[in-house]
């Protein structure tokens, strides 16, 4: 009985990986950027989580995008970029310090923008998704 269960789990895992490969992914990352690499792996796992609708990961030279609805890419990218700029502005005005993360909650969805070293992670999710858990997973034990 136990063996059967194991084989089922493996099949599901493979299917998930295959599905992920079919999703639009643009990548031009530098080979040795370990933070970027480990973030990509974590985000790939998080994307399978219920309620998560996609992510954008970028650093100075590379970007990895995974969105369930690719047509919303421009809108999301603009929103995240603006949010980061606004964060910097507020940080100067109110002495917030270096902005570590930003959570935008809309009527239909929410976005979590996280700064990890030189990388910026943007995770898009439904309103009911647990953003604190996602934040913990992304930031846990990173260099």
């Amino acid at each position: 009985m136990a063996r059967k269960k194991r084989s089922r789990t493996e099949t599901v895992a493979k299917m998930v990986m295959e599905n992920e490969a079919t999703l639009p992914t643009i990548s031009a990352c530098l080979a040795e950027d370990t933070t970027f690499k480990s973030l990509r792996i974590r985000l790939a796992e998080i994307s399978q989580q219920e309620g998560v609708t996609g992510h954008i990961l970028r650093n100075g030279t590379s970007a990895a995008i995974n969105l369930k609805d690719p047509s919303s890419l421009m809108g999301f990218a603009l929103l995240c970029s603006h949010a980061v700029d606004t964060g910097h502005e507020f940080s100067e005005s109110f002495n917030l310090g270096q902005i570590e993360n930003i959570l935008l909650e809309g009527k239909n969805a929410k976005v979590l923008c996280i700064a990890v070293g030189k990388c910026v992670v943007n995770v898009f999710m439904e309103k009911t998704a647990d953003h604190t858990q996602i934040l913990d997973r992304i930031c846990a034990n990173l260099d």
Partner: protein, 286 residues
Amino acid sequence: MSTGARVFAVQSVLNEIKNISPEVSNTFLFAVNGEILAKDDDTSLLSAGPAAKAFNLLVEKTEPIGRLESVTFCGSHQRMNISRMKDSYLATIASKESSPRRAETLTRVLVPAILRLVDNLQLATEQEPPIELNEPDPISPNTQTSETQEASENDEDISTDDTDKSESAEPNLNVGQHESELEYEPSPEEPSATQFIIEHLGGLLIPPDTVRIDNAAILQWKELYEDRELNEVEVETLSGEKTRCKFKPIKDSKLEGKGLIQMPQKLQITLQTSQGELVMVKPVVR
């Protein structure tokens, strides 16, 4: 209530928030157009004004996620939260170590409650003049209004007025009538709302249209509306989403008296809310 009085009321609340939680360093309320409506004493217009304008530029870009409800900027020193309240936004800046839940409760409950109260008072004051216009009498409206305001404070004034206008008994009656109008009597027809924190209710046999509420609250409602039928409650989120659903008392005795409402996933989606959020609940009296 004048706009100045409204601003004063909100400003006092913002200052009180700072007194209650010293970790809060700045609070300010601004309109959708970027105008600063109220701020605490420590916040300067020089920093709040441009911040409100920068925020409004961000709001314009939030189409992909729907109407913006709140934004939290977590910095290495402090955390800034901006929450939508009807037609305005409330910004709160607190230290990073402060409990976000506590600040959220203060800003999302206290300030909207005060704003609602102030608006209701303003509405009540605005509604008074038409009542006076419906009853034409020889006294000019201005004189009558001042009489009404003074009536409760100074009985002697009224008696003097009575002797002046002894020819008709009408003015005397009017004063009495306005006095009773000014007194606030909560109507039994209008059920009061109670605040609860949402707890997720899951399981196979859980009806999707029924919430579970603290038994103490249910008993209180039953006491208030003895002869009435109470089968449903109206649940309203702080962002104004409303729904009606059936209710039952919470089964788990450990959860009683904690101000919780257990809500199935379907209702949370309908209300666009989630576990840990606050909702206002009032019984539907038939």
